[in-house]
Amino acid sequence: MKITLVVNREEREAAVHGPESLLFVLRERLGLLGAKDACLQGECGSCTVLLDGEAVCSCLVMAGDAAGSEVLTVEGLGTEDELHPVQAAFVEHGAVQCGFCTPGFLISTAHLLGHNPTPTTDEIREALAGNICRCTGYGAVLRAVESLAGERRS
């Protein structure tokens, strides 16, 4: 079947076969390779995107169910010449090592800060608990997110 959805503020059409996931369709049909595929079972958060404003594991969403929805992936977070503040903070604070977890973290963080601009440390830890990072041990990620929360607080 064919579905239409708005991806990164642009209307897109995609062919979908059977039970293909939103992640698969984003990556393989729409050429948006930012969302990652580390586990394909909802455990790692590397595939996180915003679906109608909610952070979801796109590997668990059937593409057919996303028809008519608005999707935001890491590619739509900033613009080509300007990083979104969350992206800039991750680079600045060394929260990116291999970076495979990064697109998911960025979306989850943007979602968190959209709802709660000044999260406490524990609120950050809880909100990002669904995103696994094997490289950083989370310290640099926490410093990056706290720097944004701090900026907003002051």
Partner: protein, 741 residues
């Protein structure tokens, strides 16, 4: 190597320069191996053994070939060259023929129009097996002589004895590297019988040699390209899908892509060795070690892989950073029908650290002194001999300092926080504050840097000065650790210009940089870049008789005598250097000799809360003190310490690949638990900067150390909280809750 610091340049050494690949990575633009695709490509899939040990009596590929859209179904008969791969001893079949020796072993590969069809084809192959009894017990394997390598360290008087004796038996489970990027890649036939491969790696030249052998091609017919790596931690040292992709591409004449899913990834790479360890420590009444005896068994799994090197490391680092005159250690890497083991961060030094640090705590308790005091009394430092090999330590080795620095940290707050998020069991609300006991524990770890035992260890780099800036060429692999930044910083500092790019070349364009492992690339690839950049600098100065250079060009007495354009008028200034570290020796029959080129030491202090009834543990804080040589990039040092520490924490309390008679029962992220943000305590990283003797600007490698002593420190803290011996890592809830001691 020279440690002179030159004119300070923006983005040079010592600064927390941000990564050059940081921006593409946050934009979702960085191409990982699993992102690579091509016009007209096919998808590959692998058929694997469901049995840990069986004879293959028949393989029928006809049903697979009958599926529309299938272009290739290949088995062991289709491997034109050497039928096996392996770094040290090529004994693992590219595709299994006569028998399968481990669960998940590849038997056949397919290529088809799309991923689903390739998978269906793989599943449609009919394979008949005659099941055999798998050997999975380490002790039995050793008794039966199934040994990849036996390493013995014999030093001093084996019959001497100390007044105080502690004995212990320790076990460690299997840890997985769990890099987030799975095995993936794409191979392109070049139309002339050769092939270009893009796949994640830790050492593309090593891969190249093995691939060429199995394809039966000439060196120049195969080009292995670096591809974006989503973490490694040792898992990419041994081949996974590389030869398979090349076979399928050459057979079909089309690009072929493969991406393992998580379950296949668990089957597709080696794991950290499970261990069984028997120790006997003897000391005088003051706690000075007199003699250590140990027997170590590491589970090498079904094929050799890097087990011979891992068992050597386990033996040489079986006592830790402590002096001891009399030593009898026997280490065996045994062959079983468990999945193959190989490299993981810490490489043999992790298993033994758990055991020797538990022994040191027992010894301290037996003598009645403070465990840190015991360690200080025995601390190994420059001028001392490594207890196992007798090698005299000539590099900085501040064992005393890492301990003292940790000890001087403010004492951890001993108040349990009454918030479910901070209690063992978390928001599962299993635990109340009243039931929780808190404990503090320490551990110290030691490991070598770079390759050992007379291995010809080198790295090549090319530095090119052009009017547009400086190019650094290397085949060293960036796996996420930040080497790309450090190489850039080194070249900047040597050449006095900010305009440096690091370019990762394929195997046909530059010589080997050696492996991105053994904590070696800062010193090795970094040493090569330092040397090549220094050669460019000398050549540039010589061309125009200058005495200094910067981004503008060459200067004499402070004034510019030639711009970079002038300098390069006759062509770029280019130098290629093959850098070697000081020589090491082969061990004699007693494991003695100058086997290692360098060492590093680290220590951790962990504070834990334990719910003893349910056996749940929460790590409250964990602090690290570590020697690192000259710091080239402070942010990246902290990143490595924090990341490595968390892998050790995972190993202590949650990470274990469960084998059931050779079958992996939890090859997924639902059942193989990794530390999440909520498991991550605050980490203080205290860095002790002592310039080393041979790395660029005095830098040393250090990235494995954080993963060595962190787990043992957590174990020590749990023992302190519960008063139980806890001789198995990872500790399981039942080990705590059902212990009868």
């Amino acid at each position: 190597m020279s440690t002179t610091t030159r004119t300070r340049v923006k983005g040079g050494i010592g600064e927390s320069v941000t990564r050059p690949d940081g921006v593409p990575k946050v934009q979702g633009d960085f191409a990982y191996a699993s992102d690579l695709q091509a016009e007209g490509m096919l998808w590959g899939a692998t058929r694997r053994s469901p049995h840990p040990f069986a004879r293959i009596t028949a393989i029928d590929i006809a049903p697979a070939l009958a599926i529309a859209g299938v272009f290739a179904v290949l088995t062991h008969d289709d491997v034109p060259g050497r039928p096996t791969v392996g770094q040290i001893k090529p004994d693992r079949p590219v595709l299994a023929g006569g028998e399968v020796r481990y669960w998940g072993q590849p038997i056949a590969i397919t290529a088809a129009e799309d991923a689903e069809t390739a998978r269906r084809a793989a599943a449609a192959i009919v394979i008949e097996y005659e099941l055999l009894e798998p050997l999975t017990d380490l002790v039995k394997a050793q008794e039966q002589g199934e040994v990849f390598r036996h390493v013995r360290s014999l030093r001093g008087e084996p019959d001497s004895h100390g007044e105080i004796v502690v004995e212990g038996y320790y076990e460690m489970g299997t840890q997985d590297q769990a890099a987030l990027g799975t095995e993936a890649g794409i191979a392109f036939p070049d139309g002339e019988g050769g092939v270009d491969l893009f796949a994640p790696s830790q050492w593309i030249h090593e891969d190249h040699g093995q691939i060429v052998a199995s394809l039966g091609l000439r060196d120049e017919q195969v080009r292995v390209h670096p591809a974006g790596v989503g973490g490694a931690f040792g898992s990419r040292e041994d081949l996974s899908l590389q030869v398979h992709l090349c076979l399928l591409a050459l057979y079909t004449g089309r690009p072929v892509r493969m991406v393992y899913d998580r379950q296949e990834s668990f089957a597709g790479h080696v794991h950290r060795h499970a261990a069984r360890m028997w120790y006997r420590h003897e000391a005088d009444s003051q706690g000075n070690l007199i003699r250590v005896e140990a027997k170590l068994l590491l589970d090498g799994g079904a094929y050799t892989e890097t087990s011979p090197a891992v068992i050597a490391n386990a033996v040489y680092f079986s006592i830790g950073p402590y002096r001891c005159p009399n030593v009898v250690i026997d280490g065996y890497a045994v062959r079983t029908n468990n999945p193959p083991s190989g490299a993981m961060r810490g490489f043999g030094a992790v298993q033994t650290c758990f055991a020797y640090e538990a022994q040191m705590d027992r010894l301290a308790a037996e003598i009645g002194i403070d465990p840190l005091e015991l360690r200080l009394r025995n601390a190994l430092g420059p001028g001392d001999q490594l207890p196992t090999s007798g090698q005299v330590i000539t590099e900085p080795l501040p064992t005393v300092e890492v301990i003292n620095v940790l000890r001087a940290l403010p004492a951890p707050d001993l108040d349990v926080i009454d918030d479910p998020l901070h209690l063992p069991g978390g928001t599962g609300l299993t635990t109340t504050r009243e039931g929780v006991v808190r404990g503090v524990g320490y551990a110290v770890g030691l490991k070598n840097l770079a390759f050992a035992e007379a291995f010809d260890d080198y790295a090549e780099a090319r530095v090119v000065l052009t009017p547009q800036g400086v190019e650094v060429h290397t085949a060293a692999i960036e796996v996420g650790q930040g080497m790309v930044t450090v190489l850039q910083q080194i070249a900047r500092s040597v050449l006095g210009t900010e305009h440096v790019v690091v370019l990762f070349d394929d195997t046909s364009r530059i010589g080997s940089a050696g492996s991105t492992s053994a904590s070696r690339q800062t010193q090795m690839a970094g040493g090569a870049v330092f040397a090549a950049a220094s050669a460019v600098r000398r050549a540039a100065l010589q061309r125009v008789g200058g005495d200094d250079m910067d981004a503008q060009g060459v200067r004499r007495g402070g004034s510019l005598v030639a711009t970079v354009e002038d300098l390069c008028a006759a062509g770029p200034v280019e130098e290629t250097v093959r850098f070697r570290h000081p020589d090491t020796e082969e061990p004699d029959e007693n494991g003695q000799g100058n086997l290692h080129v360098d060492f590093s030491v680290a220590a951790h202090r962990a504070v834990v809360d334990v719910d003893p009834e349910l056996g749940l543990v929460r790590v409250v804080s964990i602090d690290a003190a570590q020697e690192v040589g000259t710091v080239l990039n402070p942010q990246s040092v902290v990143g490595q310490i924090e990341g490595g520490t968390m892998q050790g924490l995972g190993l202590a309390i949650m990470e274990e690949l469960i084998f059931d008679k050779g079958i992996v029962r939890n090859a997924n992220f639902t059942d193989y638990l990794l530390p999440t943000f909520l498991d991550a305590p605050p980490i203080a990283s205290i860095v002790i900067e002592e310039p080393g003797n041979w790395g660029p600007f005095g830098a040393k490698g250090f990235s494995e150390l954080p993963a060595i002593s962190s787990g043992p420190a957590v174990m020590a803290a749990i023992r302190a909280a519960t008063n139980q011996p806890l001789t198995r890592m990872p500790v399981r809830p039942e080990d705590i809750a059902l212990s009868d001691s």
